[in-house]
């Protein structure tokens, strides 16, 4: 009898695996979707100084959550996709009127200034980040943009 059960084991295991496969095929499952651990959480505590040579002030966590929706965009002059998305962000900020805060990520101030000079500057505040900020925000690469609600939570 136990021997019989042993012979049944492969097919039973397969049925279990097939069950998982069936679940995996359900249409509302998107295997490509990557959840962000930051969503619905308040921003980390930070205080970013302004980029030297730019007139925009830096900003800190205290500046967020003042009852106004804000976009925060990580960018860098050396980042090619940032250049590509720059016109879109500019248009977005202009059309919606939502303030766009920039976090200049691991960049030389003069390069950042030249870059904004060349492409235009849609940011109302720009903080300089030496790399730590990106880690705290859970940013794995630039560009990345966050939308914060009036209470300073990431949405």
């Amino acid at each position: 009898m136990t021997q019989r059960l042993l012979f049944l084991l492969p097919v039973l295991l397969f049925v279990v695996v097939a069950g998982y496969f069936l679940w995996g095929l359900s249409p509302d499952r998107d295997p490509q979707a990557l959840p962000s651990g930051m969503i619905d959480n308040p921003t980390p505590n930070f205080d970013l100084p302004p980029v030297p040579g730019l007139e925009q002030p830096g900003f800190a966590s205290a500046d967020l959550g003042q009852g106004e929706v804000v976009m925060v965009n990580f960018f860098a002059s050396w980042c090619v996709p940032c250049r590509a998305e720059h016109p879109f962000l500019t248009e977005l900020a202009e059309e919606t009127g939502v303030p766009l805060y920039g976090i200049n990520h691991r960049d030389k101030p003069e390069d950042a200034a030249a870059w904004l000079e060349e492409l235009g500057n849609p940011y109302s505040r720009i903080g300089a980040d030496s790399g730590r900020g990106a880690v705290e925000w859970g940013v794995s690469g630039v560009p990345e943009t966050f939308i914060l609600d009036g209470e300073g939570r990431i949405r």
Partner: protein, 671 residues
Amino acid sequence: MIAELGHFALILALLTAVIQGSLPMLGAARGRADWMAVAQPAAILQVVLVALSFAALTYVYVVSDFTVINVVENSHSAKPMLYKVTGVWGNHEGSMLLWILILALFGSMVALFGGNLPPSLKARVLGVQAWIGIGFLLFTLLTSNPFLRVFPAPPDGRDLNPLLQDPGLAFHPPLLYAGYVGFSMAFSFAIAALIEGKLDAAWARWVRPWTLLAWAFLTAGIALGSWWAYYELGWGGWWFWDPVENVSFMPWLLGTALLHSAIVVEKRDALKVWTVLLAILTFSLSLMGTFIVRSGLLTSVHAFATDPERGFFILVLLLITIGGSLLLFALRAPVLKPGGLFSPISREGGMVINNLFLAAACATVFLGTLYPLFLEAVNGSKVSVGPPFFNATFVPLMVPLIFLMALGPLMPWKRADLAGVFSRLKLAGLGAVIAAGITLYLEQGGPILAVAAMGLVGWLFVASLVEWSDRIKLFRAPLGDSWRRARNLPRSAHGMTLAHAGMAVAAAGMIGASVWNLEEVRNLQPGESMEVAGYSYRLDGVEQLEGPNYLADRASLTVTRDGEEIAVLTPEKRLYPVQNMPTTEAGIHTTWVSDLYAVIGDSDGRGGWTVRIFHEPLVPWIWLGSLLMVLGGFVSLSDRRLRIGAPNRQAKAKAAPEPESGPGGHPAAAE
């Protein structure tokens, strides 16, 4: 018109498969020879019809008939002819047709060369082959028809994914499928044996060559795919433990186990139930691979365009094929008479250990591959399982396997004397010390585990040669005598030596590539150079050029060592405008001990270019070793006694005193 002919031929092939899958099966059950005899012409008609259909699809690709959706989506009039042809299987629908073609080819080979099979076994094997064929023909016709038309026809096609426009990947799918589908033979024989309730040494003699053939193709297919990833993706790596790679590797692991356990069935009439299970599981994993690649079940860096509806269809197919065959196994396997017991220290004991390690390794890869899916189903969290998992689980299983691989061939059947085996391996021990010593000297230290690992592959390499040279009495008898012995040695013995030594060579390459690989990225102005691992790479310049359907920046890098010019590398960065997709073409120079590997990145707009240099020690050995393994497989296959359809032993022994049919007349990978 041609496309409709192809479609029509495919429908006829389905009808033929239905006949091939029903009448001979019933005939075998009722003992009607005339019904059973239908299988043979049906299998041949089947391959003719499928080949016709495949030829029709190839034709519409060659003439760029853009009224066929499949051609529109995967071809372009400016594409080079080679890729127009290989584009036929560079997409989901066409590759399914290739799958079916290879399946039909294997079936027809049994029909043509299976003259000496017992008629009922032959009818059942062909019947099972036809069942698999019905499933895949239905799948192709209902969900993945490559012959659909589009109206109005667009002026030109959307081109084939540029990554696939490459000679390495052009031939990767046919080889891989020949491997996957080749295991269907072992599967069909296993199912037929379960239905018959009879499994003997003759059965194993039949299954072995098919398994060996499939194994050799799969080895070649995997190696080619890995080589392609290495030079085309420009990451400097050759294996990424990506789900799509893993699903091809799992059947390889179990197929290798099957190859060895079938020898035990043949020689000792033991391990029958296990061998049948292995045959079923090996092909099941091949099917599962097809499913995972095409259903979008797992995220992978390279997979087919996915479609859940197709995934559902294949899942049903899997449930019937795998679930059905495993159920049959549960019901019928107890009927198979168990073979004799044997001593753990013997050739067959060695094979069991080989099987245990390979099966465990396969289970690890299976878990690692599907774990993200299991976890997501249980608690919704997403993880990816990468190299750290496999390094921690798979590699430790390979270490004892490689160590024992050296012992197995030296052990006689039934009962072996371990002390005697080790005394014959003194030279292998020396080989291990020398390999470790060379590594230590060349690398000035390095991780001690890697040095030990190199010693281990040295051990296996020398042990494989020791076994072979002992058999021909190399250096112990006059050379002429050894030569005569070598010629008399069964080809399968040569094949085994080649394959085992090839494994050692490939393993050395894998260790070297993962431990001593160096990578440097720099921004270089033309004329500037960078130094990696003692080689100096000077960027001479970057020129723009225009290919048939792409634009490229081609850099030219002069590699020098101590002022002496070694090579000029010309890595390219291509842009395929039709798909607006960039690809990299690495510039590689091999010294056979290492690869000098260069990739060109973006221009900084001020005359400088990002240059990425990899120093890849021993990587060429991976391909060299794989080639030796494939060669070993084919050399074994050429053995008269293993040849497909070889008549039974007694008949042949009387037939002719051929030089290669040595005394004893045993297929000799097994001796």
